[in-house]
Symmetry: D2
Subunit: 340 residues, 4 copies
């Protein structure tokens, strides 16, 4: 007799349409693994996809969520990378294995889970084995579920692209999931980390996490303050989380030949900046769109060899999926996780 499982779905766009539905636990086909989901980590992107599909043609019923941890329950024919009992985490965009990102200039769309590919807010998923990597041994399931998007985005920007060195000055804007991973990853490489925030209380928590400096960006000109802190050297690497005109401030704060990773867009869908520092300082402005699978594997290794523990602001139960999503609007300090 077939087992049933629960999952969160929508039948039409709109987070208000989220409901728990039941269907049979899927069978893993050739090359697939059946994974029992133990935790799902939420990203702001999940909200946008539920609201408007982010321009993607969703298939209904649509299951949201891209980031999960779980345990392999069964493997299909031809599977070689996993066996039952293995703890795994999902890969954000499983079409991007390493190196060159798939897609064309005209259609650069990401084939992420919970988007053009199915989502993970199910008690069980049956996906190709290539869609998973081994979970880190040093993290619990909730923590492990935060790596596939937020964690590896910070890693990809800072490590894969940025080649950090001890003594680098790194600016992390805000205290969301990517930013706090950025803080921890930069510290693990010997960098001096400066965190900006609109909240004094969050700055205190960031300092407790290991940040060297906190800048209240409401009370101070954060770029000017970065110049002061660094003795005019500027920031070797800035995780630009706001976009909009904030890029201009990042260009003010960045070191000569420094690096700005454009990751977030909280201040609008346009970026703008004066061009003079672009020419005089010759920085790299690098767009970041999550990461490939190999970087996620590298990051898992790094997690297990360093003291990095993902910062989880709140853990919710499977039934509280909607409450967890709502938490994202309140600007969590780190990640929001749903445990199954």
């Amino acid at each position: 007799m077939a087992r049933l499982m629960k999952e969160w779905t929508i039948d039409a766009l709109g987070a208000e349409n989220l409901k728990i539905t039941e269907r049979r636990v899927p069978e893993p086909g050739p090359g697939e693994v059946l994974v029992r989901t133990t935790a799902v980590s939420l990203n702001f992107r999940d909200k946008l996809v539920l609201e408007n599909g982010m321009g993607m043609p969703l298939s209904f019923p649509f299951v949201p969520g891209s980031d999960m941890a779980g345990v392999v329950e069964a493997v299909g024919r031809g599977v070689t990378r996993f066996q039952p009992g293995d703890r795994v985490i999902s890969v954000f965009d499983p079409t991007w294995i390493d190196g060159q990102k798939p897609g064309t200039a005209r259609h650069p769309t990401s084939f992420a889970l919970g988007g053009l590919n199915p989502g993970v807010a199910s008690q069980y998923v049956a996906f190709p084995e290539d869609w998973f990597v081994a979970a880190p041994e040093s993290l619990d399931d909730g923590e492990a579920s935060t790596l596939p998007c937020a964690g590896v985005t910070a890693w990809f920007a800072l490590v894969e692209k940025g080649h950090p060195k001890a003594g680098d000055r790194v600016v992390v804007q805000g205290t969301g999931g990517v930013s706090l991973f950025g803080l921890q990853i930069a510290k693990a490489h010997g960098a001096e980390v400066i965190v900006t925030s609109a909240s004094q209380e969050k700055l205190e928590r960031a300092l407790a996490l290991g940040a060297d400096h906190g800048i209240n960006r409401v009370r101070e000109d954060w770029a000017e303050r970065v110049l002061e802190i660094t003795g005019d050297h500027g920031a070797d690497h800035i995780l630009e989380m706001a976009g909009g005109a904030n890029l201009g401030k990042s260009l003010q704060a960045v070191a000569v030949q420094g690096r700005i990773s454009v990751i977030g867009v909280f201040e609008g869908a346009e970026i703008s900046a004066p061009v003079t520092p672009v020419l005089l300082k010759s920085p790299v402005i690098q767009g970041i769109g999550v990461a490939h699978r190999r970087a996620l594997q590298d990051f898992v290794v790094a997690i297990d060899r360093t003291a990095i523990k993902p910062v989880i602001d709140a853990r919710y139960s499977f039934e509280q999926f909607r409450e967890a999503l709502a938490h994202l609007d309140r600007g969590p300090f780190g990640k929001v996780v749903v445990e199954f």
Copy 2:
């Protein structure tokens, strides 16, 4: 008896103040070389410096010009790199030898000749030997004088930063000095080159120089046309010469993980663009501020080993320095040179 020489100077800001003055031929001090100038190449920057100093505190009488070719006439004590008779060209910013560019985030100013350092529109200059490199053997003096700024800027963007490979699609915006060098350098590395211009006649000349495709940016949406030409792949590297909102078009045309070198600012002092392609395509947007001395030396070697001949739109005499400057306003096809 001391020899006299002529030079172009201003006593106050404003190109209208340009006049020929006379002074003694300088003596080369310790570590300096005396060079008889044979050609000076003009850049739009020279006009801006004469007009407003570009924010720099000029010393009057001020001699304009950063790019020259000449012959070493005498060497001061301790000079090891040159001897009388050597043909040389100047280095744009002699404080930048290789690798890390000098300066701080707060004061990234370039120590270019014809700016914070003295200019070259003199019949003789006595500068430190480090301010020169050997001229290419395969170019005449007028041609050689075009390398220190325009030539090496294109080289630095395309080669030193861009690591071109045969088959790359490179977009060169416009047909000014940097752009035509970009066209020739990209072709020398096996790239497919697309040139954009507002002038059909200039496009024809660019095609004759070796460009594979010309796009009339007035008649067509150039970014869309790049996608068509490249079968949706997009451009692996774009020399962005306009700035302003044109950066958004470059982001539309750039390949996934491609590269945009921001060099020119003809459309304004701000750059702006939608952020979505920055995230989805993850391109590198690289500011370019000329180049270091070692890149200029590499470029000289390349010039002598390839068929690259700088494109000179017009050659003027020393007395026609003002006419040569005025030519810049008419959008030259390549470079404008003053021969002594």
Copy 3:
């Protein structure tokens, strides 16, 4: 009624066991494509595998050969990258997609075709679609079949790892398949190419192909001659095809901070060299083991955009497979190809 096809097989180690056998044309399974082979290019490795398996546990009957061109005849369920009629070439090691090479320090074995994976000396092969890339349009089938191993090895060393720039001095040792591709690829990027050979006649042919200099390594000390040709600068990149003590000569000839790609082992299974130039010149000595699939795709693009035509010393028919193999012992100038 099932179609029959012919293929070359051995039932036991030893090239003398090669014979033509018949079996049914395979059916493409899920994710597989059926390809009608039109040409196979031979490598010295094919001889070694037939003789001793190169330490690999071969499955008998064993089909040799790793490099092929062909036409897709049918596609299995789920195939997305190809359709019937597409011209394709094989990927040497289909487990290496991009970036990080699979395998461990203890077991770095390559999963190449005609080795741990099946070979291609069959009239038809049914392989996963990931084992192929599109063939270049500008080459005939025999030419196209030379890219998967020899061609892309030279490309990977010179372009993917070496980042060539116009004016670089590149030394190519010998005139075998990899070396002549190296000559052509280096020239396509504006390099000055020096070829060494024991045969004056082959040097003449290499010069006719575009080499700038030929050195008869029997009559001259080739490393000393490279120093003379380059005005003591040395070679920026050397394709080291001999191994053994020849590495010491390469270290003598290499430029300061130059690059030596170790590719071939014609002079023995050991490399040895004095350590002083390793320290004083700080070169990179880079082992090359063919390339990943993405580099092959880049190379196909480059082939179609440049004038590079693979050099084929001789073309044999399917029935002449053994004669083609025997040709390898005579030191071909370029590649030996079997056309079906």
Copy 4:
């Protein structure tokens, strides 16, 4: 009245000729700084230079020593980088500023202090300002004097060339000065560090310094042990300090596409290795010849921002210079320093 100072000199090759001599304190010429030496750090190279000149034509009386810390006492005309009272350290080869190393393939000689340039075992030195960088604030003079050669060599190999990332497995051979810096620098970047030594007691001290694993290379096959410790992954980076046939062991231990930095030559003037792992693993074998000035500046910044304290095995007085040199023969754990 001119001040006198003491310095260690030889009038002919041979450490037995070392004696203290007196001469006037030099005057700083144009562009020079007069520095009062406070500490000199010894390298094995100093012994070799005293014994045989290492092939260099020394000028007698010859002052040995390349690495010093000191205080600027006076500055000559035109000096801009320092003022009296500044604490400085010397640059090993002051002709190498950044990027490309000077020299040719035929004459790659290093212009190091205590070799082709004068040495530092003097109470005062008057050198060009470019021969110094600011000393780290967090180190005493003896510690600071260890950076110019041993410290920055490890930094250059691991950081400038190796781009370390958290989780990397790094093997450090031995417990000399470069090796212990390597251990500390790798740990500062989140790596897992494995130290090899012939001495159990030194391994214990290395573990106390932060090494994750120690391998007694006399009792165990160190390469095999590295494979075991890393779960067959192998070492991402190996500091190869022995040379000779030990390179073969390093190739056995190195990860696929890993990196071997060839630094030391304790086991002979030749390196040799089987070529198969060079091809199958495609590692980078990178010769290291100290570093450029910019890397030393980066390293000073890193020292001040991390907890790295150079390991000094013994501190001697100026008069004990010969005893300090003799200490080098006993295989110090870290550095040997002479304090003035």
